[in-house]
């Protein structure tokens, strides 16, 4: 009898140990993100922004009394690799949530994995409309970046105010380039019907030699140009366009979306940047709109040990922030509860309040736009004045 009691007690103790440990177990978040190859330009700082948020929240005691653990994996900017990493994160690392992916190929692919496994997936960067299109939407996918409709329309709002009617476009021939250009053209024609699209160039994704495209476009004599050539590719494109006198020919009536105005891009080009064009960016350390933003930039600057910190870190940061706020609101780490908590959730981010819409799981994430100028305070051009274009009016 005695022995039996002891055994039962022992068994109970053994069972209780993992249960007690469970409360201490960290909440695991898996992040498939490109950390090598050209997309790593943004993937790497975005992952660091997420990590900074995690460290800050853990220093304050974590969420629901548990620590947060971020497991980052290199998705290489490749949809298949991102899917493989996401599966492994779920099956082997037992992550509770997914926050990540960058390209418009990766996002929708990982969304399918999230749906299968019923795990909340927050996409902080992919812009393709298809990610949250009605036929692809499911309860577990959310996007906190701008989408192609919002970005294209924001640019159209700006170009509509220019004294031009002959407009040309140049974009990479894949999902993001096509979708954002379509949104731009349709919205521009709507707000300014006198506009004529005189030329459209479609180099392949990652094109290195833009000379033939620029020549062909200049031959059509546009008065303004819309480009969605992004990141390091914009550096290549604009260097070649500048050498051919393209920016002078259109009198700097040029708008580069795809973050052509981000500090990363202007910094890497310095005085070679086609100063005077319009660009956009997710963030800019010099924006300093609110005390919260200033404080965020100061913390980020310290964290990245960079005087002019990345504009992409904010995407990883707010992605994690949305997740954590939803966990708090749901008071649970159950994906079904957290996904419900995310619907219509408004949070206070370093760039201001952001809301995830209930109908399409899309945050009202606008971007900063501005004309680039040389400012003696910085060794590279900045957007000035820089304005946050709120897309809420034209999201539908």
């Amino acid at each position: 009898m005695h022995r039996r009691m002891l055994l039962i007690l022992l068994a109970a103790a053994l069972l209780a140990v993992p249960m007690a440990a469970d409360a201490q177990k960290p909440i695991k978040v898996g992040m498939p993100m490109p950390l090598s190859g050209p997309p790593a330009l943004f993937g790497d700082p975005a992952a660091k922004g997420a990590q900074m948020f995690v460290e800050e929240i853990n220093a304050k005691g974590g969420v629901l009394g548990r620590k947060l653990e971020l497991i980052t994996r290199d998705s290489k900017g490749d949809a298949n690799e991102a899917v493989r990493q996401a599966r492994e994160l779920i099956l082997k690392d037992n992550v509770d949530f997914l926050v990540g992916t960058l390209t418009s190929a990766e996002g929708p692919a990982v969304s399918v994995v999230a749906k299968e496994n019923k795990i909340v997936f927050i996409a902080p960067i992919p812009k393709t409309d298809q990610l949250t299109a009605p036929d692809k939407l499911h309860p577990y996918v959310f996007r906190i970046s701008a989408n192609t409709t919002m970005e294209g329309r924001s640019a159209a709002e700006i170009v509509a105010k220019w004294p031009v009617t002959k407009v040309a476009t140049i974009s990479f021939d894949y999902a993001y380039g096509q979708d954002v250009t379509k949104a731009f053209v349709e919205h521009l024609k709507k707000v300014k019907p006198s506009v004529e699209i005189v030329d459209q160039q479609w180099p392949k994704l990652g094109e290195q030699d833009y000379n033939p495209f620029i020549n062909a476009q200049m031959a059509k004599k546009p008065e303004a140009i819309f480009s969605s050539i992004w990141g390091g590719f914009f550096v290549t494109y604009s260097k070649q366009a500048k050498a051919l006198g393209m920016f002078d020919a259109v009198k700097y009536n040029f708008i580069g979306v795809g973050e052509a105005g981000s500090p990363e891009t202007t910094k890497s080009m310095g005085k070679d940047y086609p100063v005077g064009i319009w660009g956009n960016s997710y963030d800019a350390f010099y924006w300093g709109e609110t005390p919260a933003h200033k404080d965020y930039v100061a913390r980020l600057s310290k964290y990245l040990k960079d005087e002019y910190p990345s504009s992409w870190a904010i995407q990883g940061y707010t992605g994690m922030q949305f997740l954590v706020e939803a966990i708090k609101k749901a008071n649970s780490t159950d994906s079904d509860k957290v996904s419900k908590a995310l619907l219509g959730l408004t949070i206070e981010t370093p760039i201001g309040p952001q809301t995830i819409r209930e109908k399409d799981h899309q945050a009202n994430r606008g971007q900063l736009y501005g004309k680039t100028v040389l400012d003696p305070k910085y060794p590279f051009p900045i957007m000035k004045p820089v304005t946050y274009v709120d897309p809420t009016k034209f999201m539908d």
């Binding site: 330009l41 290195q208 000379n211 020549n215 062909a216 031959a219 260097k239 051919l244 990363e264 890497s268």
Partner: protein
């Protein structure tokens, strides 16, 4: 009918692209022609050339002729790296199965590009054009940047000098002989090992120089190595693997097809290039100026 000045501008930009491709592809072709190794890592040498040029420019700037010092310095560093890689690693590949060669050179791509990432990070790097060549001039209504003109002149100059070395000098004769029959050449008392190293050094120099000279026209980013190697392969396949003038011709054709392709099939110009390669492979599998392998 398109505007003649536009046609002219298009052919010039095609030619400029061709000269760069030739710089890269000639090294690839040289290594294959003599050493019989398909060096996948050649594109990585090109990328490292661009990064080294960026590094030199960080130290010495681009003005006062320093750009040229940086470009030659970068090419020199890559030549040296090529020599070391050949001596220590490539040496063991000669005469091995193609599969081993491919696996090895591919591993080298991964190792070297990771090393580049550790040194220079993932952010794009940009090099300014040398101030003496920042301008542009107008010819037949087309704008031609001075730097592009320089590249247009440099390409043929390099082609002729390499040709001269190969055809008219003693070393060139040995190199050609080594391509045909390595054993006999060795039996005749020529130090074939040293010769191979030199070929590799020259090829790496050309690759590194290509990367350094392209840095003012493009962003230097991780991944630029694998992009260029595909293009360089297309060029050498069209021209004939191992054939020097074939590579030149292949590059010219590639540049023009790409340039004019966008006129006729705006969204399929890259397809035109691959269609051309497929056509060449069907009709003349050894390339336009290559020799059929026995």
């Amino acid at each position: 009918m398109p505007d003649p000045s536009f046609v002219f501008a298009q052919s010039v930009s095609g030619l400029t692209a061709a000269m760069f491709l030739f710089l890269i592809a000639s090294g690839l072709s040289l290594i294959f022609g003599v050493l019989r190794v398909l060096n996948f890592a050649h594109g990585t040498f090109y990328m490292l050339g661009a990064y080294s040029a960026y590094q030199f420019v960080q130290w010495i700037g681009v003005s006062g002729g320093m750009f040229w010092v940086a470009a030659l310095g970068a090419a020199g560093v890559i030549a040296l790296l090529g020599g070391v890689v050949e001596r220590l690693l490539f040496r063991h590949l000669y005469g091995k199965e193609e599969l081993y060669q491919l696996l090895f050179t591919y591993a080298l791509v991964l190792i070297l590009s990771d090393a580049a990432r550790m040194i220079w990070g993932t952010q794009q790097k940009s090099v300014s054009r040398p101030p003496e060549l920042t301008g542009a001039f107008s010819l037949f209504g087309a704008t031609i940047p001075h730097y592009n003109l320089f590249i247009l002149l440099l390409g043929p100059a390099i082609a002729l000098s390499v040709w001269f070395v190969l055809q008219r000098t003693r070393v060139g004769r040995f190199i050609r002989a080594a391509a045909l029959d390595r054993e006999t050449l060795g039996a005749l008392g020529v130090n074939v090992d040293a010769l191979y190293t030199w070929v590799f050094v020259i090829a790496s120099f050309l690759g590194g120089l290509g990367g350094a000279l392209i840095s003012p026209m493009r962003a230097t980013t991780p991944g630029m190595d694998t992009e260029i190697i595909v293009e360089a392969f297309v060029v050498v396949v069209i021209g004939g693997l191992g054939s020097f003038w074939g590579t030149f011709l292949g590059a010219l054709i590639y540049g023009q097809v790409l340039s004019f392709g966008i006129l006729f099939f705006p969204r399929f110009s890259i397809f035109a290039v691959f269609a051309l390669m497929a056509g060449v492979l069907i009709v003349r599998p050894w390339g336009l100026l290559g020799r059929p392998l026995k």
